[in-house]
């Protein structure tokens, strides 16, 4: 069966290489406030605009490390999640769909739990992590299913 919208198999490794270091770096950025100086932007204009500083074209001063690293993490996770397996067949496509469903369910339950138990800035930071939790849950579940499948088979006779 031809599965559409999947990247070639080699992108799985490329995705992981992109996602894991940048994910660790993102943690440094969030908790230790580490930024790349060359990504610092300062507005050098005559008149300073005082309204709506949160929009890209109105920014007065900002360091773009978090944004760039965040994009790399998301693209990396996407590649790692949606690349073809080495031996892609129809059952793997089914397992993939089941894992996506599972990941969305678990993520939704986690969100409901967070809405009830966490408030204000803690809730906002949970929402920030939520940008990539669905993909992470999916990658873990899908690869675990494939791994257990393979291991179960090796213990059985031909």
């Amino acid at each position: 069966m031809q599965t559409r919208f999947l990247f070639p198999h080699r992108f799985k490794a490329i995705g992981l290489i992109m996602a894991i270091p940048s994910f660790i770096f993102m943690a440094f950025n969030l908790f230790a406030d580490y930024n790349f100086p060359f990504l610092q932007y300062e507005h050098h204009g005559t008149g300073k605009i005082d309204f709506d500083r949160k929009f890209l074209f109105n920014l007065q001063s900002h360091n773009f490390t978090a944004e760039i690293v965040g994009i790399i993490v998301i693209i990396g996770l996407l590649l790692a999640a949606f690349s073809k397996e080495k031996h892609e067949d129809e059952r793997i496509a089914t397992l993939r769909m089941e894992s996506i469903l599972w990941a969305v369910y678990v993520n939704t339950l986690f969100l409901i739990f967070s809405i009830i138990f966490f408030y204000a800035d803690v809730f906002l930071s949970i929402l920030t992590y939520n940008i990539c939790t669905t993909l992470i849950l999916f990658i873990i579940r899908f690869n675990l299913v494939l791994y257990m499948d393979k291991r179960k088979l090796n213990t059985e006779p031909q």
């Binding site: 069966m1 067949d89 129809e90 059952r91 793997i92 499948d149 393979k150 088979l153 059985e156 031909q158």
Partner: protein, 66 residues
């Protein structure tokens, strides 16, 4: 749905891995079909029937709960 793939495989005297290779699927898929964990697509079922030289109904049968 149940199937007689294990029997057909014994008649041809081929392993799960060999059958998988002939059908261009993984051995896990053959294993899962034999153990009624996974229901194959129509394309795969027809390919199997062709390989075993039997009508599909003789390899795959509906069960009461289907």
């Amino acid at each position: 749905m149940k199937n007689t793939i294990r029997v057909e495989r014994a008649i041809l005297n081929i392993t799960q891995a060999e059958l998988a290779e002939k059908l261009d699927v993984s051995r896990q898929t053959i294993h899962a079909i034999e153990n009624n964990i996974y229901i194959p697509s129509t394309i795969l079922a027809l390919k199997m029937a062709k390989l075993f030289k039997k009508p599909v109904e003789e390899i795959f049968m509906l069960e009461r709960k289907d």
